[in-house]
């Protein structure tokens, strides 16, 4: 029982992080029906922006000498804003000039961005885990926890899940209660008709990129203290996030969030118990396998994902 509870806690925490990146992927997919393969790297460089403000420079020292959490939070918000601006520029300069109905050029561009951003981060910060490490947004010492029965529930695990829920609520509000959100949903639903009611579709797509980038950046900053901040840290997260988005439905934001949680639980509870059984011990080394099996089973029964409406297309 204790072990199960512990594995559920772990699964929910990693699931929340997959969910953050999956939601970012789905935001772009909904508007453009393409996968931004650079989403993970944009999030990674966003986390480095946060690191610059939280650790590498003292520009934020005026906030507080001793409250590192407040300083880290401010650094995180600055990082989210910078990544949003960076995404706006990328969308405007590298994506918008291309015909949106022809997916191949843009997919290649996002793949190119993946490599460029990764290499740039490696050049600037090198490929080692950064030291001192990225501070957490929540207390994350070994004794910052409460006991639920015998299981340990860490403050930062609760904080990560809570932050994701708040971000989803904000996103839901922006999309459903603001004019920009309405325009975004209109462009996602029918781009040509959106133009014909006077929506400046380019700006709306830029807004989608900016929103997605800041969402992903927050996910990366949340995960950085766990994975240790380094340029390759998001590669695996991106694969899990893609799997999560596909499980939940590539055009459903709620589905992507739920998909993240499902994949998190599969990874922790599923892999945990199955690999306890000797013939499947190898799963501990290749936990992704079980997530991909979960994806296959989902798509077998529901090709558009749990909450998706469009079947996935080949790019």
């Amino acid at each position: 029982m204790t072990l199960l509870l512990q594995r559920i806690f772990d699964g929910l925490t990693t699931g929340a992080i997959y969910a953050a990146v999956a939601v970012a992927l789905v935001l772009i997919f909904k508007a453009t029906t393409l996968i931004n393969f650079a989403q993970g790297e944009l999030a990674m460089i966003g986390a480095f922006f946060g690191y610059v403000f939280a650790v590498q420079t003292d520009v934020l020292d005026f906030i507080s000498e001793d409250d590192t959490y407040l300083k880290t939070w401010v650094a995180a918000i600055i990082a989210m804003i910078i990544s949003a601006i960076l995404a706006l520029i990328i969308e405007r300069v590298l994506v918008r000039p291309f015909d949106p109905t022809d997916h191949l050029p843009v997919v290649l561009i996002t793949l190119g961005l993946f490599l460029i951003i990764n290499a740039m981060a490696g050049e600037i910060w090198n490929y080692q885990a950064q030291s001192p490490p990225m501070p957490g947004l929540f207390p994350n010492n070994f004794d910052d926890l409460i006991m639920v029965g015998e299981a340990r529930l860490f403050y930062d695990a609760m904080g990560i899940v809570f932050t994701l829920l708040v971000m989803l609520a904000i996103l839901f509000f922006v999309l459903n209660r603001t004019k920009m959100g309405l325009a975004f949903r209109a462009v996602s639903s029918n781009t040509e008709s959106a133009r014909l009611v006077g929506v400046r579709t380019g700006r709306v797509l830029g807004f989608g990129w900016a929103l997605a980038a800041s969402f992903g950046t927050l996910g990366a900053i949340l995960v950085a203290p766990r994975l240790s901040l380094q340029p390759n840290m998001m590669a695996v997260v991106l694969i899990y996030a893609l799997t999560s988005a596909a499980v939940g439905g590539l055009d459903s934001l709620g589905g992507a969030a739920l998909g993240g949680v499902i994949i998190g639980l599969v990874n922790s509870v599923g892999v945990g118990y199955i690999s306890d059984w000797e013939p499947f011990e190898f799963l501990r080394a290749t936990p992704l396998l079980l997530s991909l099996i979960a994806l296959l089973i989902t798509l077998w029964f529901k090709p558009s994902g749990l909450f998706g409406t469009k079947a996935v297309e080949r790019v």
Binding site: K179, L182, A183, R185, A186, S188, S189, N190, E192, S193, A194, R195, L196, V197, G198, V199, R200, T309
Partner: protein, 252 residues
Amino acid sequence: MTIAETETAGATSSSPEIMLSVNGIEASYGAVQVLRDLSLEVPKGEVVVVLGANGAGKTTTLRAICNMVTCSGSVTLEGHEIGKSNTADIVNRGVAHVPQGRGTFPELSVKDNLYVGAYTRGDKDGVEDDIDRWFTKYPVLGERKDQTAGSLSGGEQQMLAVSRALMSRPKVLLLDEPSLGLAPIIIEDLFQTFKSINEEEGTTMLVVEQNANLALDIANKGYVLEAGEIVLEGNAKDLQNDPAVQEAYLGG
């Protein structure tokens, strides 16, 4: 040589009543020229119909007016050049366009479709009033306001598309083959609705259609488009009685 050319030459009468005027536009898709020196005029408060078979260039004409295809020539709205503006600006100036195949937002609720239609407007209260007005006028939309547009029937979607377009309080409404894919009885209703909107709201309309009879019934004036050229124009009654039009578009 064609009637269109003589008409353009003679259309310099200083009438301020012209709402929309298209002057000598040409458009091509790649090497294929779709519109050749096309000119037409839509007087204020009137319904003008452009008839033509598939591929004659009807849709391209409407898309050219909204600058959704690149074309040369000029388009003026109330005498102001709009041909070089981007689509959003053209909509802002009072052109609403219901594209072929309805052009609703299938994943959005009926109500949100109407809100999007009012995207260019800043008066919140006026928008709410207009939405209530359309819901009163077309109760079926009101009953389904929280349903997604995609769940409506074809006729209901066309009604929604028209209401959505009128939410921007346009000066001129462009309708691209509104009858496409609808049952005859529904088409008749729909055209009566257009007529009543035109009479009650004073909305100027440019309709492109294959269904010549119904369209000419509600129109003041008509043009016949063939292979990207205006080959015939006149007032609607004359066109309905024209033997050439009857043979080609009215089934003899």
